[in-house]
């Protein structure tokens, strides 16, 4: 459905997208995740034909975006970061123009406009001028235009930027609904947003693809074993001596030390962090040393994201 092969885009000496390759072939919501300036918008602009690539190819259902632009673009719906709206028009007028430009006419045009209006929930606003609409509704109008022409792929660049929390929830639920019947690719630098909506995540950093998988698989594949925090009713030296001997301990850091109480962070060197926490508990109990706190911290997707985007790993 969407094939990106060895895509590179340079601005002078700066490489915004660096030999990016991936393929999306199933319906669902895909997240395009990366820190600001990672090359997300540049990649999306190239995929939709708004920007040229220095090298590489983008194919939409087999059609090259540069060789067969009309065929390729008929299969894409695109909402740039700033919705491209004619503010003096009503949503109905605006959608009519976009529909006509996508080659729709007559009943097909009317039906598709009605469907898009219904799907995005802008029915009540259809006859108001766009400049009188709230930011959330403008975003919906932008999404509605992207849905016209029954595109196989809908590409949304940072669709929730600048919205208030309620509007963000509304747009997220709309995107999730869209992903049930088509392929939706959304870009974001907010991890939680991508995590809640997307079936698969592409992580991009410095223009390179560093990971492409389902969120849970990324956690399984890339997560470090984690850390156990303990607070014990003893000094740090004794607590350290009790923990050190246990198998699966990768390292110990003393966070606080006192004659009656100390706090340690134990880095796990084993996949089964709960087995290690059980062993620590039993060791302290059998030695008669009270444990005030025993906390297991597994690395989140956010930790993985930070590690991937700050490091240089590639998928």
């Amino acid at each position: 459905m969407l094939q990106v092969e060895h895509l590179t885009r340079r601005y002078g000496k700066v490489t915004a997208v660096d030999d990016l390759s991936f393929e999306i072939s199933d319906d669902g919501v895909y997240g395009f995740l990366g820190p600001n300036g990672a090359g997300k918008s540049t990649t999306m602009n190239i995929m939709t034909g708004c920007l040229s690539a220095t090298s590489g190819t983008v194919r939409i259902s087999g059609y090259d975006i540069y060789e067969q632009p009309k065929e390729a673009k008929r299969r894409i719906g695109y909402l740039p970061e700033q919705p491209p709206l004619y503010l003096g028009e009503t949503p109905a007028e605006y959608l009519r123009f976009v529909g006509e430009a996508k080659g729709l006419r007559g009943d097909a045009l009317r039906r598709e406009i009605e469907d898009a209006i219904e799907e995005t929930g802008i029915g009540e606003m259809r006859s108001r001028r766009i400049d009188a609409l709230s930011k959330g509704y403008r975003q919906r109008v932008g999404i509605a235009q992207a849905l016209l022409g029954e595109p196989e792929i809908v590409i949304l660049d940072e669709p929730t930027v600048g919205l208030d929390p309620l509007q963000i929830l509304e747009i997220r639920s709309l995107i999730s609904a869209l992903g049930r019947s088509r392929t939706v690719l959304i870009s974001s630098h907010i991890l939680s947003e991508v995590q809640t909506m997307c079936s698969k995540i592409l992580i991009i950093a410095h223009g390179k693809l560093v990971a492409f998988d389902a969120p849970e698989k990324l956690e399984e594949r890339l997560a470090a074993p984690g850390e156990i925090t303990i607070t014990a009713e003893t000094d740090a030296q004794r607590a350290r001596a009790l923990v050190e001997a246990l198998p699966g301990v990768a390292g110990i850091t003393v966070r606080a030390d006192g004659p009656d109480r100390s706090q340690l962070a134990v880095a796990s060197g084993t996949e089964d962090i709960y087995a290690l926490s059980q062993a620590i508990f039993q060791t302290f109990a059998s030695s008669g040393c009270a444990l005030c706190e025993l906390g297991v911290k597994k690395p989140s997707l956010e930790d993985i994201f930070l590690e991937l985007t700050e490091g240089g790993e590639t998928a």
Partner: protein, 287 residues
């Protein structure tokens, strides 16, 4: 292309643009007709058009300034790039809408010679020939305006540059009389034009090497010609200035001559500036 055309046309007639433009042109031509044809009882309607051509200095840039600059300012140009429509279709659609907008007041103006013919002798072939040339003149100036609009996202700047360019074209024949007709003056002008062409090429293609080398090559050729055959360059600068005048070619029609060369020249100007506008839009995709 038809979607772009109808969208543009709709937006002109939904806003005040179309009505203000039509009112301004009708008012200008109306005052001219009242002065010449009614008060002075002159039967030549073409003189009215000749007087009214000055209005293009203001109306053509103001009408064309928003065509592409506004799309860029509102970021709706991204929508146009993402739609299954080529940049040539975008430019042609927008330009065709401008022409239709321009034809509406012209259709009303076209009735004036018939009205005057009922009260006296009006030579209709010259009147309608001039009206045709008036249409071509406006169409060519609108094409220039569309190109200038494609260079910036600032409508005011686009209008300002447009007014300066059209004003220069309007007075180019008068100004040419003050220009040096010596070979040295001509070669200096040719070098300046070569440099401007090189800069324009750089602006449109984003390729500095190509632009600079083109400017350098043309300048070198001009200087070489100056050294080889100075007589060929004598009087060239005033000739170039006169030859580039769109208004001067329009006045040929007003004088009762249907000049096919002028028609071809106007059509060439339209084609050239629309081509440059397409290149300007395409260039943004590459930068």
């Amino acid at each position: 292309m038809s979607a772009i055309f109808t969208h543009e046309l709709r937006s002109y007639f939904h806003s005040l643009t179309a009505w203000v433009f039509a009112a301004f042109l009708l008012c200008f031509v109306g005052i001219g007709a009242m002065m010449y044809n009614i008060q002075a009882a002159v039967s030549n309607f073409e003189y009215v058009l000749s007087l009214s051509s000055l209005a293009f200095v203001v109306i053509a840039p103001i009408l064309a300034m928003r065509v592409l600059a506004e799309e860029r300012r509102q970021k709706t140009d991204q929508l146009l790039y993402a739609l299954p429509v080529s940049t040539t279709e975008v430019i042609l659609g927008k330009y065709a809408a401008l022409l239709v907008l321009y034809l509406v007041p012209l259709a009303i103006i076209a009735v004036y010679p018939l009205i005057f013919a009922r009260f006296g002798e009006v030579y209709l072939p010259t009147s309608y020939g001039s009206l045709f040339a008036f249409f071509l003149l406006g169409a060519a100036l609108l094409a220039v305006g569309v190109f200038i609009s494609s260079l910036t996202d600032n409508q005011g700047l686009a209008a300002g540059i447009g007014i300066a360019v059209i004003l220069f074209n309007y007075y180019s024949v008068s100004l040419s009389e003050y220009m040096s007709s010596s070979a040295l003056g001509s070669v200096i002008a040719l070098v300046a034009i070569s440099c401007a062409a090189g800069l324009l090429l750089k602006l449109l293609t984003g390729n500095g090497t190509l632009g600079y080398w083109t400017g350098f090559g043309l300048s070198a050729a001009s200087i070489a010609l100056y050294n080889l055959d100075r007589e060929a360059l004598e009087g060239l600068l005033p000739e170039i200035m006169s030859a580039l005048s769109l208004f001067e070619r329009f006045y040929v029609f007003v004088n009762g001559v249907f000049d096919v060369k002028a028609v071809v020249f106007d059509l060439s100007v339209i084609g050239f500036f629309l081509f440059l506008s397409v290149q300007s839009l395409e260039k943004r995709r590459y930068n």
